[in-house]
């Protein structure tokens, strides 16, 4: 399975929750598969999906899912200790780990080599770290939501992309409808 297949698989679960989605292809894929006002698409700023999602989770009570990639987590590795030390039980970090920088041409990441992000998350103090195969992502995600415990999921999948258009929605529209969903 590749990332877009995981997103297609978990879209019915994501639909009911606030989602902060990583820059580039992940946001474009989610936008194409199931655009929702509860989705905050990152159009820039690689690495900050987990931080933005944690901020949303700490500020209000609804469940927040940050969809991130292994490359983006490596870009902002300092996020894992911050997450571990600021527990928000309405927060789930879903790292789709395909071992590559998908949006830029599938260059390998260190997570696809010796570095195991699940071990890094645990070493940083994250208490609920789940590793799963791509096909089990929906099950792991639903279990994390139901547990009402802050969870980091590392979903291992194959590298690969589909062709799709960029998001042309205005960033302020994305932000505004997301904020209205938070308040609803």
């Amino acid at each position: 399975m590749i990332r877009s297949e995981i997103l297609r698989d978990i879209a019915p679960i994501l639909r009911d929750h606030l989602v902060v989605c990583n820059i580039g292809l992940p946001s474009q894929e989610l936008h194409m598969i199931d655009d929702q006002p509860t989705n905050f698409y990152m159009l820039g700023t690689m690495g900050l999906s987990s931080s933005i999602g944690l901020g949303v989770a700490l500020a209000q009570d609804k469940t927040v899912i940050s969809i991130d990639g292994d490359g983006s987590v490596l870009t902002n590795l300092g996020t894992l200790p911050t997450i571990a030390n600021n527990v928000a039980d309405n927060y789930i970090l879903l790292i789709i780990d395909n071992g590559s920088y998908g949006s830029t041409g599938d260059q390998p990441t260190y997570a696809g080599k010796k570095t195991k992000l699940e071990n890094v998350a645990s070493a940083c103090g994250c208490e609920n770290v789940v590793t799963c195969d791509a096909k089990d992502t929906g099950k792991a995600l639903q279990a994390a939501i139901d547990s009402k415990k802050m969870t980091v999921i590392v979903s291992k999948c194959e590298s690969g992309n589909i062709k799709l258009p960029v998001i042309t929605m205005d960033p302020v529209v994305i932000r505004d409808r997301f904020m209205k969903s938070v308040q609803a």
């Binding site: 905050f40 159009l43 700023t45 931080s51 933005i52 901020g55 700490l58 911050t82 938070v182």
Partner: protein, 168 residues
């Protein structure tokens, strides 16, 4: 009333409930004050761009944020300011220690000080410079302005404002 108490009082009076910090020696007192206040959730960041991500999230989650950091962070956060805070039009008061100004003992700090205002100007970030303690009288108005216009706004606070570096 100490200047630290006064600054944080203005934060609280303007509804700021979520503050991220990356430390600087000059900011130690104000960070202690942030940590002590029940009205404020204090979340230390490991890097300032991470902090701006947290603040963006907190704002969208319904809480007014602020970041406290050193001016060297301007070099770290240009991309985040442009593609997140400004692109999505989000407010962000940035209380910044302006290292490398008069009374600075560390030469290397001057190397970023000389770029600080130029970078902020290039980014079209409204910038205020506190040099004397009485300059802090404008903080309340600056915070209101920030949340009125939904922009990042810089408040540079130099060594003279903080009373120097002691016996160095």
């Amino acid at each position: 009333m100490s200047i630290n108490t006064r600054i944080v009082d203005d934060f609280v009076a303007n509804g700021i409930e979520f503050v991220t910090t990356v430390p600087c020696k000059q900011l130690a007192g104000v960070i202690d004050e942030i940590e002590a206040r029940e009205e404020i959730y204090h979340i230390p960041s490991n890097k300032e761009d991470e902090g701006m991500g947290l603040c963006a999230g907190a704002f969208m989650g319904g809480k007014r944020p602020a970041i406290i950091m050193q001016n060297t962070a301007i070099g770290v956060t240009i991309n985040t300011l442009a593609t997140l805070t400004q692109f999505y039009r989000m407010p962000l008061p940035m209380l910044i220690s302006y290292r490398g100004e008069l009374r600075e003992p560390v030469a290397c700090q001057v190397e970023m000080a000389v770029h600080t205002k130029a970078l902020l100007q290039q980014m079209l970030i409204p910038t205020y410079h506190f040099h004397k303690e009485s300059d802090a009288e404008e903080l309340d108005a600056i915070l209101k302005y920030t949340f009125m216009c939904n922009k990042p706004v810089a408040i540079l606070t130099d060594a003279s404002f903080w009373g120097g570096y002691g016996d160095q």
